[in-house]
Symmetry: C2
Subunit: 156 residues, 2 copies
């Protein structure tokens, strides 16, 4: 259960204490490239550190999110997902959400059009509305392979 030391350093650098729960949560996130819900993170962490409570998971995730070490995602199913920023930053990083079973897959791509599009939209946004864009996300909705077989589509 080692895990990247530079992440821990960024915590202490930001003035936060390097506690056991925080290290384990960081490690769990580092070992799970998928988006984990708070409950899933709790479950994983609990195996190494049984005494942990959900409140600490939430507080730590909030801390990590505010510090920028973790990204928080909302896919519309009522629970948030979390992912290491360093993992998400490995490339443009979007998501495909199956409107039937709720499955979410990461979608790292490398298409030139995106840079131009985002730049153009960002320019328009700042000119028309005075916004300063820091990031963007693209969500695709549709049916995953498994759900295309079945007939009745349960739309969200």
């Amino acid at each position: 259960m080692p895990g990247p030391p530079w992440l821990r350093q960024r915590l202490t650098n930001a003035g936060f204490r390097l506690t056991w729960p925080r290290q384990v949560i960081l490690d769990v996130l580092g070992q799970n490239p998928q988006h984990l819900s708070a409950e899933e993170i709790f479950f994983h962490v609990h195996q190494f550190y049984p005494g942990i409570g959900m409140a600490t998971v939430y507080r730590t995730l909030d801390l990590l999110t505010r510090t920028g070490l973790v990204f928080k995602f909302d896919f519309g199913d009522g629970r948030s997902r979390y992912e290491l920023a360093s993992e998400a930053a490995k490339g443009p990083h979007h998501h495909m959400i199956c409107t039937r079973c709720g499955r979410i897959i990461d979608f790292g791509h490398s298409i030139d059009e995106e840079g131009e599009l985002i730049a153009a939209l960002g320019k328009e946004l700042s000119e028309k509305h005075g916004f300063k864009i820091n990031s963007h996300r693209i969500h695709f909705y549709g049916l995953c392979q498994d759900c295309q077989s079945s007939s009745t589509e349960g739309k969200r």
Copy 2:
């Protein structure tokens, strides 16, 4: 409080009863182009139809969403927003979310790059993962004009 009759027709066509609460909810949505939360919809509807309950609002919104008359959005603030599909479909339609004050603005644009980008990404998604894309949404995160003035940025 008239409101578009074709919308009501789509309800009856789908086999649902044309009740008073449903008509009023549809009218409220038709008169408010912004994204409304369930609570805001309840509040508006309540003025015309005081007897209505939140449960009916939620059940109706769910019905309308499943029928495709209404789009449901999640911007990450813990409550869902709803908007008439016919309104949202007036053009490519994305959102800018201020990470400080939570303000959301609609962002209807008309940039050619988007079609190409989405097509390219959709192709990749279907080829690599077997997904069938029905729709997509782009979220921009940043600071709105008002919040750029203030110093401390409260990240989500």
